[in-house]
Symmetry: C2
Subunit: 455 residues, 2 copies
């Protein structure tokens, strides 16, 4: 990869859209675009919480694209509507809320909006007509390691980011449940209304799973809506063996899960689930006469689109249906177990390997976080200035890895911790131990190229 | 098409996802799904504001799916990022705001959320931190024929639907600008703060284009944010000859346009544009450390994702880029002219054809709205009860058309008007006059099958 301005230079003519090309010129331009694009399906692409894609999912995406329709009414998407219903039923059962409701949304951040809207509407149905001004002061609770989408949602929906109460996490990245309870009590004492607690099952960086059972008990005690952001970790529910890690999720009022992350469905494939049937429709319906006519000749209860904030909506459920049909419950369970075995292997290797140091040895999702300490940095007192150097070394190693096309790996700081690597494993491509070793060796090799003068 | 419950019966085994299938069984199930699905690419599918799809757009969608990545950072989508930038530049120029900013969003309804968030943030930047409670009473203005997404947005964003002031339209479906000004004055006198005026360029049913120049002058006079919902009609900007229909759009603060409607890009392909550069980022940024690291080795101004409410975001711009490369500005201009010629032909034919009656003879977008009056209903006094019968006849004709797989055409009531048909023409498939005649003949034939006892 080279800087953006260089790409712009190389691709100048290809990027321009004012001039018409014939088919062979267009093919040439497309090939060039792809040549310079990142190959996210390679085993060494570990930069995001998505990685290689399930080929059945891709087939599903292609079919869905070709049949270009929208998920709002039964008449234009009869089978796709039923497929969304059936897939949601299956997923609801899997997550322990078999009588619930759900919808496919364009990503986890939009699911977060759905969750907050549902929680707020349940507490104050007058919000829909009257808006936020007449309501008491509303507060939201989340952990400091939770996804940033809750801040964006707090702005958009009119809560304000200051009304998101950020609860500390423990060393493994889990919300400190006792601090949640303390904060709830404080806010209640101040006369504020706690509208939602956002638990995370699989934080973005460490992969931490909050103590869902304890949090559920707290939410029930104070009568607060419990949302579980399981966008990343929700895929563990697919495993018979591992789903107990998310025990308590079945007590949530709402859940978000992104099969386009660990499970390998093509982007976008996001599910928003909620316990109470009918609430989604009641909260979001606008009953547009031109679209949701009540005098249609078929049973209009199959028109599910008014539950949605969107009007036109992609048929994302079909990709998941394809994957599930091809893999079955058992196949998906095995893939989940395998991905966690690989993550376990990685964490054990990192723990033993010279120069590597784990950020947290407590594995929850398939995230493995660590520093690589080059030889010239070892056996020194780890002062603040030493850590400042480490903070620069991690991005520098990543630069080398990227420029040499050896691997693409995320890094991040986290609270007091300086920049470290995060490897996050996904179902596809199905990695073996040798791939993990290759990635770690590449890090080691590029790490040893770093010298003090480069920083 | 048959009722949902019958579909469920026919497809029971195919819908089920608990059992694993081998590839040939899966292929069989997929073929069955497709057999019972609506073929939206047929010329006779005129049920929505999308129709057949541009094949170059489909190629673009397939490539984008295969390269499965997210539009948030340059490092994972270097070329796709540049493509989004270049396409937006071209579109901004086309809409007359060359120095503006923009983003691809998952549909027009989400673009409506973007518009309201931007307008509100511009007026009250403290909203981001503090929420809606401390703000004055905010009001939004829209026409009675505008899209329902503004009501959903008013709920979600905390304004409340009661604070959407609905302005009457004239017979052609355009907002009465003088009533807008009166309403603005009334609200100001009541101490309320007008946060946005939503003009529509191409209403959903009639295809009306509001008087954009007059509305722009009013918005400028009162210092109110002007948004133009050009999701449907924005495609007219592609035509050299026809873009003057949207004169005044270049004075808007924000614009939404859905190339997945008239232009035939595959769903979803939606553009949100705004005049002020930087505002989108300022309003929406959350500066997540794990994703938008500032110590990356490349120029991070190419990381455009923090402008978005989404985190992961599909590379929808690529479809539009493919279409534009293949068609060129001139090719797209010609397609626009053609679609309007076909709509003109349709409206003239309907005006002349016995038994047909136009709802509005004033064509603005490619919508043609009309009733078909079966022979047994003609030459009678058009009493309230006669109209009540017509209200039932239109859906009944649609039922016949659909069950006989002859055509799929939208119908709707509108204000005092009873159910009528809406034909809306799109770029693809490229229709000829004979197709229009076939559709009208099918309506006539099915209309003549209707008898009083069926209603």
């Amino acid at each position: 990869m080279v800087p953006g301005s260089v790409y712009e230079e190389i691709l100048r003519e290809d990027l321009d859209i004012s001039k018409q090309l014939n088919d062979s010129q267009l093919e040439k331009a497309v090939r060039k675009v792809l040549q310079y694009s990142v190959k996210t399906n390679k085993p060494t692409f570990r930069n995001q919480l998505y990685g290689g894609m399930d080929p059945y999912g891709l087939a599903g995406a292609w079919v869905a694209e070709a049949f270009n329709t929208s998920q709002y009414t039964f008449e234009v998407a009869p089978v796709f509507t039923l497929i969304e219903i059936k897939v949601l039923e299956h997923v609801l059962k899997l997550f322990g809320i078999p009588n619930g409701d759900g919808i496919f949304s364009p990503g986890g951040s939009i699911s977060m909006l759905y969750a907050l809207v549902a929680a707020r509407f349940k507490a104050f149905p007058e919000i829909k007509r009257k808006g936020m001004r007449g309501l008491p002061e509303l507060v939201i609770f989340t952990s400091e390691d939770s996804h940033y989408s809750i801040l964006k949602a707090a702005h958009w929906l009119g809560f304000g980011t200051e009304n998101v109460k950020v609860i500390k996490t423990n060393d493994s990245g889990q919300m400190k449940s006792s601090e949640l309870e303390t904060s709830l009590q404080q806010e209640l004492a101040l006369g504020r209304h706690p509208v939602m607690v956002n638990a995370t099952a699989g934080t973005t960086v460490l992969g931490a799973i909050d103590e869902l059972e304890t949090m559920a008990a707290i939410c029930e005690k104070y009568g607060v809506w419990m949302h579980v952001d399981a966008c990343w970790g929700g895929s563990l529910m697919l495993s018979k063996k591992l789903r107990s890690k998310l025990k308590g999720i079945e007590r949530a009022n709402s859940i978000s899960w992104n099969p386009h992350k660990m499970m390998g469905a093509p982007l976008q494939c996001s599910v928003f689930l909620l316990r109470e049937k009918g609430l989604l429709h009641e909260a979001n319906a606008a009953a547009a006469q031109y679209l949701f006519q009540q005098d249609k000749f078929y049973d209009v209860s199959y028109d599910t689109g008014d539950k949605s904030i969107q009007c036109g909506r992609k048929i994302d459920a079909f990709k998941l249906w394809m994957i599930w049909k091809a893999r079955g419950d058992i196949g998906l369970s095995n893939l989940t177990d395998h991905v966690m075995e690989i993550a376990e292997f990685c964490i054990q290797t990192v723990a033993r390997k010279e120069g590597f140091r784990l950020v947290s040895a407590h594995i929850q999702c398939s995230n493995v976080c660590f520093w690589y300490i080059p030889t010239f940095m070892r056996n020194q007192e780890e002062t603040e200035s030493w850590w400042d150097t480490m903070h620069k070394i991690t991005p520098k190693i990543k630069e080398q890895l990227t420029l040499r096309s050896q691997a693409m790996i995320a890094y991040s700081p986290l609270r007091q911790r300086k920049n470290f690597f995060r490897l996050a494993f996904t179902f596809h491509p199905v990695l073996e131990e040798k791939h993990v070793l290759e990635i770690l060796q590449a890090i080691e090799k590029c790490g040893e190229m770093i010298t003090g003068s480069m920083l």
